[in-house]
Amino acid sequence: MAEFEKEVSVLVQRVVRDISNAFKKNPNIDEIGIIPCPEPRYNRSPIVLVETKLGLESWCVKFLLPSLHRKLLLYRQRKNYLDREALVDVTVTLLLLNPDFTTAWNIRKELLQCGVLNPEKDLYLGKLALTRFPKSPETWIHRRWVLLQILQQCYAQKDCRKEQGEGYLCHTEATGSSQNLCTHQARLLHQEMAVCSEAAGRYPSNYNAWSHRIWVLQHIAKDNVEVFLDELSSMRLWVSMHVSDHSGFHYRQFLLKALVTELCKSPESTATATLRQQGITTSGERAHLKDTRPAFGLEESCKEWQPGVVTVPRLFDLEVDFCSELIHSYPGHETLWCHRRQVVFLWYQWRREHPNFPGNTNEDDALHFCGISKDNGQACSSTETSVNGLTCGGDAMEVDGLPDPQDATLVKRGLLMSCSLALHAEHSYVSSLLDNCCNLEQRRFALAYKKWLGSIIRQ
């Protein structure tokens, strides 16, 4: 028995060393995996490196994991000493095999805090672990912690940005709502979006991947309209290819909601938002997605987002049309019907909160109705502005109480844009769909949607 244990110990040390060397030799390893192999092959290391893929033969895992696990826990209980280098190597191997081992990630956090580890290295380790375990909650949790460390460092260095050195370049205010991201933040953002996409592709409706993506936007892009619009645009293709991925569609709902909030917040962007690519977008990712399958309406969609102007009603129009298109092309997908509900609900709520804003998507009409001249860019903000005798305020406007009866067209339009119209449109959409539909699943979801319209969104 003692003989056997000694053999195991030698084996384990060898494997840990081989893994560490493999990473030194090839810092571009981008995927890990277990190679099914029940028996050791004579005198060969169980570590196999093929180009950028690192494989571990399965026979050794059952020795490796318990042995390293015990080693690390003994260290944690101060019953066994491990130097920093050993700690780094042992945690790498353990986490690649069992990434939900929280305490191992915590040990790495401590190593990071005392400067032994580089935060970027840990993001890389997490990324690798996610190639095998795309849901692993602890890997995502650790990732957020590391990102916060980097961001804090980034903010701390903004004051000394003129100093030389390869520190983080931050050109923005720490918490400001600037539309610009510093180059470092932009790179981080791009990297995180790529990691999320990869994990989302490996496991459908990957809750942890998509909620991480939202967290990243909330913490790095904050209220950056351009990033949100770019995400909305690049995700259009992804969701078209994953019409059952509820998390992907929820992400669109999140983006829409955030955009609506932002577009209604700052005066110059209430009705219009100027979009200009600033090299901070996730276009690389889009390019990557492009070659996987022919774009589903991508050509038109990109055109829609790229021109200079996006209005809130236009956003909703486009999304509802997009949804109809998908429901038509991929009948019987519950996710698409859920998405429709969410978008219509959001739209309905927005209309109720902004009764002065035309449902009309024509920009000039929209501006005119709100009494906004295009040039001064004034907006339908929460402060009341009285133009053309119309009160345009954030508070609900009584349609009955419109002061100027001569403005008949405006009154008419005010009624036209009322919520019930949108509701009617939805009812007739379902009715006509049901008239020509024999797909049982599709009918089931359409009927449920109709019922939902009647009970939840009724006035």
Binding site: V61, K62, L65, P66, H69, R70, L73, L74, R76, Q77, N98, D100, F101, T102, T103, N106, K109, R132, F133, K135, S136, E138, I141, R144, W145, L148, R202, Y203, P204, S205, Y207, W210, S211, I214, W215, Q218, S244, D245, H246, S247, H250, Y251, Q253, F254, K257, A258, H333, E334, T335, C338, R341, Q342, F345, L346, Q349, A448, W452, S455, I456
Partner: protein, 346 residues
């Protein structure tokens, strides 16, 4: 640990192109409850573990013990478990900071602090750990916005809000934290569909909904839920097989069946689903040979799904097991002993 479904086998098979969204229950699937087998399965579980599997799941050991003990108690088989050994184990897992870890040598976390306190409550022995220190630990984890981080490293999740108030409620110490702020945070995670996610803006998820409705029950704030809207979303989780899933277009699963069912019970809408069909689905997930429940018919059993299978049947009115409390997933009789009666909507 909450919703650590398939924690042992992360290699889920993805059927590209042809999504499989429900299961078919075979005519020869189990349709009667085989309690003795389940009790034997749980009683033997700890002893026959091999080194590798034991290591893989050690990071959630404390929750594993809670699953096993709770299902044994629901089946009136708790005396078969080694109370003394387990109590000593829990004591060895309490740290200086007051928090409790999944196992000795692991770091403390709210998830395992709750599991440990639940186990001790089953044994009517919460005093076995330093209760004041547990309370202090939880207090230090509350953030300015009312949310809770799971441990000292700062991750925020509505699951942890639930863990915090559930632990404190079991200890009779809910007044030691800022409950109003905590409620405010949980409500900020409510979505348009009436459901809740892990953080503001995150997607609704049956597990998170269970945590949030449970949280609002314990804090007496269930009236802030849009019960009809949420009930609508929850009862749409039922699939033709009778099983419930955790989100649209996911497969039905015994553990999600519990979270959805318990949430429906909490908001007083349990009658909105087809109970008989759900019962048949849960029963079909039993393994007649080994005992225990799997996530779906024919899959490998584990203690996690065994607890939620039995607890689900209890909520559906199964009389061979003790009535379970939907908020804390513990026998009602245990909560009565403590004097804890979480709110339910009618």
């Amino acid at each position: 640990m909450l919703f650590s479904c398939n924690f042992l086998s992360s290699a889920s098979v993805v059927h590209e192109g042809t999504p499989v969204k429900d299961v078919v229950i075979k005519p020869d699937a189990p349709s009667a409850l085989i309690l003795d087998k389940h009790a034997d399965y749980i009683a033997a579980y700890g002893s026959k573990k091999d080194d590798y599997e034991y290591t893989l799941s050690e990071y959630l050991r404390m929750s594993g013990i809670y699953w096993g003990l709770t299902v044994m108690d629901l089946m009136s088989q708790l005396p078969r478990m080694n109370c003394e050994e387990i109590t000593e184990f829990i004591q060895s897992c309490q740290h200086e900071c007051g928090g409790i870890s999944a196992s000795t040598g692991h770091d403390p976390h709210l998830l395992y602090t709750l599991s440990a306190v639940q186990i001790l409550a089953l044994y009517d022995n919460v005093q076995a750990v330093d209760v004041d220190k547990v309370v202090q630990y939880i207090q230090t984890l509350q953030q300015e916005d009312g949310s809770f981080s799971g441990d000292k490293w700062g991750e925020i999740d509505t699951r942890f809000s639930f863990c915090a108030v559930a632990t404190l409620a079991l200890l009779g110490k809910l007044d030691t934290i800022n409950v109003d702020k905590a409620v405010e945070f949980v409500l900020s995670c409510m979505n348009f569909d009436g459901g809740f996610g892990c953080r503001p803006g995150s997607e609704s998820h049956a597990g998170q909904i269970y945590c949030c409705t449970g949280f609002l029950s314990l804090t007496g704030q269930l009236h802030r839920v849009n019960a009809d809207l949420l009930g609508w979303w929850l009862c749409e989780r039922q699939l033709p097989s009778g099983g419930l899933n955790g989100r649209p277009e996911k497969l039905p699963d015994v553990c999600y069946s519990w979270w959805v069912l318990a949430s429906l019970k909490i908001i007083g809408r349990i009658h909105w689903i087809d109970k008989a069909k759900l019962r048949a689905f849960i029963l079909a997930c039993q393994d007649e040979e080994t005992g225990g429940f799997a996530d779906r018919p024919g899959d490998m059993v584990d203690p996690f799904h065994t607890l939620f299978g039995v607890a689900g049947l209890s909520l559906l009115g199964e009389e061979q097991v003790k009535p379970v409390n939907p908020v804390l997933c513990m026998p009602e009789v245990v909560l009565r002993r403590i004097g804890l009666e979480p709110d339910l909507l009618s």
